[in-house]
Symmetry: none
Subunit: 198 residues, 2 copies
């Protein structure tokens, strides 16, 4: 009854394999498949492992009672960068913080959109061709914000600036000119983040 469910050292390592499996197949393995995967010979052992991971918030149950990833399932370890040579810490709780990339990058999911970048006009600010920017859709921005504006029915990513009383769009690439729209233009949203995959 009163199962203490103390955390086992190796649980996190096992969790790692479940994360790998999920990253590959977008699905969690059945208990019998976990036996092969984790080299555990009894389903009861799996059952207890899963119970512990559920308690810790790494796993949970979907409405149909199937096993599904919990919130913490997508946590990533964040190195504190002062770690040095000999320190090959694969351990979970030492010297690192944990965060989920999504929560870190997306603060207002309901108004957030991902937009692929085409072109090099912002390369000096580290926004390259084929990157993806995270955009909060809203029609206003502050000076200095990187915005997605609609100019001539096209999306454009530039820094919002002001010359005298006129708003301008400033590229971050010396080969491009500052855009000085004659008419008021529409701000589609504000860039709040950026990512890239190699």
């Amino acid at each position: 009854m009163t199962d203490f469910n103390e955390v086992h050292e190796s649980d996190i390592e096992k969790l790692g394999q479940l994360r790998d499996y999920f990253a590959t197949h977008r699905s969690l393995p059945s208990y019998s498949y976990m036996q092969q995967l984790l080299h555990i010979k009894s389903k009861e052992t799996i059952s207890k492992l899963v119970a512990r991971l559920k308690l810790m918030g790494f796993l949970e149950s979907a409405p149909d009672k199937k096993l599904s990833p919990g919130k913490r399932f997508f946590e990533r370890s964040l190195s504190n960068n002062t770690v040095q040579a000999g320190a090959f810490t694969a351990s979970y709780n030492e010297g690192s913080d944990y965060m989920t990339i999504d929560e870190h990058l997306v603060r207002k999911p309901s108004i957030t959109e991902l937009i692929p970048v085409a072109g090099d006009s912002m390369k000096d600010l580290g926004i390259l061709d084929r990157d993806t920017v995270i955009v909060e859709k809203r029609p206003y921005a502050n000076l200095g914000d990187i915005v997605v504006a609609i100019i001539d029915d096209k999306f454009t990513i530039k820094t919002l600036g002001k010359e005298k009383s006129l708003f301008v769009l400033i590229p971050a690439n010396k080969d491009f000119e500052i855009i000085r729209p004659k008419e008021p233009f529409i701000i589609y949203g504000v860039v709040t983040g950026q990512f890239r995959s190699y």
Copy 2:
């Protein structure tokens, strides 16, 4: 026997509900739960629906034979992107509604670590001071890969290159010099992604 499996008009609509379910729970519902979800009274009907969606590449089977999302599951319909009148976007967008940024950036969770970047030595490749890089921890890399190496007990992010028979570390900033280590150095991991939050 010879089941033609012609595509039904409504299949895509049903698929939509499965996508919503998956987006919420990171798991696909069982056939019986799909019955409730899709208002279908027979499991056989579900079975055929799933078969068609599998043929179309929206669903597939994981190694344990469980149902899992296929490649096309995360495609985003074109109509979503053409919302803006006339707005021209490169509309190839890997279903950002259903796939998280995390899943896009992290392929091998168990060996992946996030490392904050300090310094400008890679700025020409769009990796700036205070960015975060996604690193697959492993001691080998290919020429041209961006690697995290350990030099003088410090982490360094550079492109792996070769001069004659010696491996070198190439910065992406003209103010920095190519590092030509006298002794073999350790590769801590390979950079597989990068992100930044404003």
